[in-house]
Amino acid sequence: MADDKLRGELIKKYQWAGKIRFISFFLLFIFLILMKLCGGHSYLTFALVALIFVEAILNQPHTFLIKKVNIYRFQFYQMIVDIIVISWVLYLMGGLEAPVVSIVYYAVILWAGVVSGDAAVLFAVFSSSIFFSLVIILEHFGALPAISYFNHKMPAAQMFSLLLGNVAFMFAFGYFSVHSSGVIKFLERKRQEDSLRYMHKLLATGYLVGGTAHDILNYLATIKGNIQMLSISEGRSGEQRERLKSIIDSESRCANLVYRLARFSKEPEKEFAPTDINKAIEDAFELTWPLARYSKMAVERVLKPKIPLILGNKDEIQEVFVTLILNSLDAISAKPKGGTLTIKTEYLKDKELVGIIFADTGTGIKQDDLKRIGEPFFTTKEPEKGAGLGLTIAYGIIARHKGKIDVASTADEGATFTIRIPAIQLTQNSALEVGQTG
């Protein structure tokens, strides 16, 4: 699915690029006609016009076309045709006499950086340099018919110095393109990371408030009940009654606050329904994809097809998976070489349990810390990265699903989280009915 997503993004960018190209080529065509109408040199050769048309049309990445081609290779074909067209026009306009045309090369180089990556930029720089040099040199030494509007032949030294200057600038511009697109991508990732972390934190706080509210209300009920019992016992003095009433007043205010607070947050107990674990993993993966895609973490999914369903809440289960993926991402990112997160699902037939395994080759968890995993507010991360609630909530959610989380880890080698949740017995429909728990 990751590839699909990448492909989707790439296709979107291509469709943009296609539109921009179409407009550019259309303008170029109009320009060439205008030049001819003005009585200038006829730049219009049949082959060039044909190429422009083919290019303008082929670059409209129609869905039918995109489905058939290797989209990654396709960008290189596009670029090379662009560069040939540019070089051709440049040649017709007098080569070094019309340096303004070479600006168009820079547009290709910059675009390669923004749309694709370093490899595309390098490709654009090299092919631009080669075609540009070829046109200039071949024309200079007579292999191509010379086109000049000033009837002036440049000395070879001048030609080479201009040529080298232009080529050097292409390389410099390529560097600029790679660098600036890197910055753009970094900022984009940072923005997505911030928003995902914020959302995660908000969700965590919500769970925490919702989860504790029920307990607090239970304790308050005990307090209130006992106080009321005390106030109705015989032999209470007026003063004692007053004090007990004051306690009850405070208790009522406290309960009101809890109600107001909890209404703002999500309640943890939600609808339970037959849930597909594999689907929840895919969704969690998709949610974390903006972060994972630029990281040093490779994700491998070994999902058992047609795995039995579990009785649970998909949003909650997904929240657990997001937590585990983000933790692995942090652990792997802390390693210079990066690492792999393997997500595996399995079905333990004899125990009727569905197993989900998150194994990463990150920094692992220290032996002392292992015991404290899941403890509220326990974290080894920097304060801005986490409050130490992610796994606490994950443990709570899995417990509500009558499941269990086990952790195994070797420091510096990685960590493995194993989750086991009872599978639904498809033979007994009654299992579906006992949905409300916790």
Binding site: L217, A221, Q436
Partner: protein, 124 residues
């Protein structure tokens, strides 16, 4: 004398409600959890009214009410819950013939509980 079954997974609450109801002249059976409640319901014990919590581990209040329905026990019930949002339970409760008027929220005023108990048992 009327006998009331109090079901809550929090023993402290069971104790308070039980103590209060006894003081008010009722007989009380207690269950700290859904399983105990179902066991009592299955026995031939006489129960005139049940006060039941909704959110309990393993077997919830809804499960208890559903079991009561299956056992064809006709006594009324009062739902006493610490859940903030009971709207999601309402549909199921409706199926068993309960309305929002049968729900009391924790922390409950014991006298409000008493009023509802009397109302349900039709004691004037």
């Amino acid at each position: 004398m009327y006998k009331i079954l109090v079901v809550d997974d929090e023993p402290q609450i069971v104790r308070v409600v039980q103590g209060f109801l006894i003081k008010m002249g009722f007989e009380v059976a207690e269950a700290t959890g859904g399983e105990e409640a179902i066991e009592l319901l299955r026995s031939d014990i006489k129960i005139d009214l049940m006060i039941v919590d909704l959110k309990m581990p393993k077997i919830s209040g809804i499960d208890v009410l559903s079991e009561m329905n299956k056992l064809n026990r006709k006594q009324p019930a009062i739902i006493l819950t610490g859940s903030i949002d009971t709207s999601k339970y309402l549909k199921e409760l409706k199926d068993f013939g309960y309305t929002i008027k049968d729900i009391l929220h924790k922390p409950v005023d014991l006298f409000a509980l008493l009023d509802l108990v009397k109302n349900k048992l039709q004691i004037v």
